[in-house]
Point group: C2
Chain length 229, copies 2
């Protein structure tokens, strides 16, 4: 079908917005979220700062777009790493996801800090961000569901958990067939994973951990064992 003039216009507008996002991403990678300024991306694009506001409503909205892009970039990398492992090798798939997350974080530290550091705009995350934010978690969940279906989960968990800690939808939609204590251990492993990455990236382990690679390997092994893989 032929492109209408409106299509051309819409495409140009989308390209402009993408150029803004790319410039903002470059600035984020260099100076961090604090150093990212709307006037700076305007300078980089050679236009007046006020012109930027024709394409984005505010600086916070720009950061939100970068957050979404970050979650999707991280999710893609984790999914690609997991896809490269045969489906039957459950601990290897788990490990691949964890290592991919750490790799993405160390490659894009400022972007990672924007996702998992202090929430800059406020406490409530914009609703647009919650869906892409679940991609890594969903990946880990699929592995656990596969393990449960194969009966491959060794329930070594020596911990009793009172019922009701998790949202019911998580158990039914996200982790169907996974026993409740194992699901709790899974969510815990998910938060522990990003706790490790954040601690390493934010400099909390400088005096205690000598070989970050080896330590992360051991941590992933501990988490893997904790969820029964």
């Amino acid at each position: 079908m032929p492109k209408t003039a409106a299509d051309v216009r819409a495409q140009a507008k989308a390209a402009m917005k993408q150029a803004i996002l790319d410039a903002a991403l470059r600035q984020l990678a260099e100076t961090g979220a604090d150093g990212l300024s709307v006037r700076g991306v305007a300078r980089e694009l050679g236009m007046a700062s006020s012109a930027i506001y024709r394409h984005i409503p505010s600086r916070d909205a720009l950061l939100t777009d970068l957050i979404i892009e970050g979650y999707e970039s991280l999710g893609q990398e984790a999914e690609a790493a997991e896809r490269a492992i045969p489906r039957s090798e459950l601990p290897e798939r788990f490990s691949a996801v964890c290592h991919a997350a750490r790799r993405w974080a160390t490659a894009n530290p400022h972007h990672y800090a924007l996702l998992y550091g202090s929430p800059v705009p406020g406490y409530a995350a914009p609703t647009d961000t919650i869906e892409p934010a679940t991609r890594v978690a969903r990946l880990l969940a699929v592995i656990m569901v596969d393990a449960a279906n194969e009966g491959a989960i060794r329930v070594t968990a020596p911990v009793e958990v009172p019922p009701g800690a998790l949202e019911p939808e998580i158990l039914t939609d996200f982790l169907p067939g996974v026993a409740y204590p194992v699901a709790v251990a899974g969510i815990h492993a998910w938060s522990s994973l990003f706790g490790m990455v954040s601690f390493e990236l934010f400099g909390h382990m400088v005096g205690s951990v000598a070989d970050a690679d080896a330590f992360f390997d051991a941590g992933v092994a501990l988490l893997s064992a904790q969820v029964g893989l």
Copy 2:
């Protein structure tokens, strides 16, 4: 001994600095680190903004002072909670420290974010902050050393860790008598603890965890088991 005039002067100067820190802490609690402004604390103290710089070299230095105060406040609360438990009840002491940390974090969310969120000034933490930052970790370490001395650690750890992951001084000075794999599990538990707290505080668990208290209880139990208590 009588106060010399110089003493009075020094005391007044210290009081002024403390007043600045108090005002800054109030602003931090209200608006977060991003919203904290030197001019704002000057307004609150009824003085010109330039006068603040007689007592503080820069805004970053002010934030550094708040970071140190935060680590010490958190450390004191954790130490008090641990002291209230009989020394022989090792898992209870461990749990008390974890819950005290979470309690302090939820009571002072912006202050917590300043400590464990994205490092705002830069990547290298000022050297003044690394010593107070270890207080909670030291508390957990003492518990593990006590457990090792009593032979109370059940080494259930099913994970092999290659040597050299931790700094040697940590093993000798911080965790003397603790077996290497257990020490690795301890550092891992430390990072997992703050991973849990950060995930909860920064809103990453909104859709998955229904009862944050119960989930945290379960997480602490998992960590406790992981270090062999």
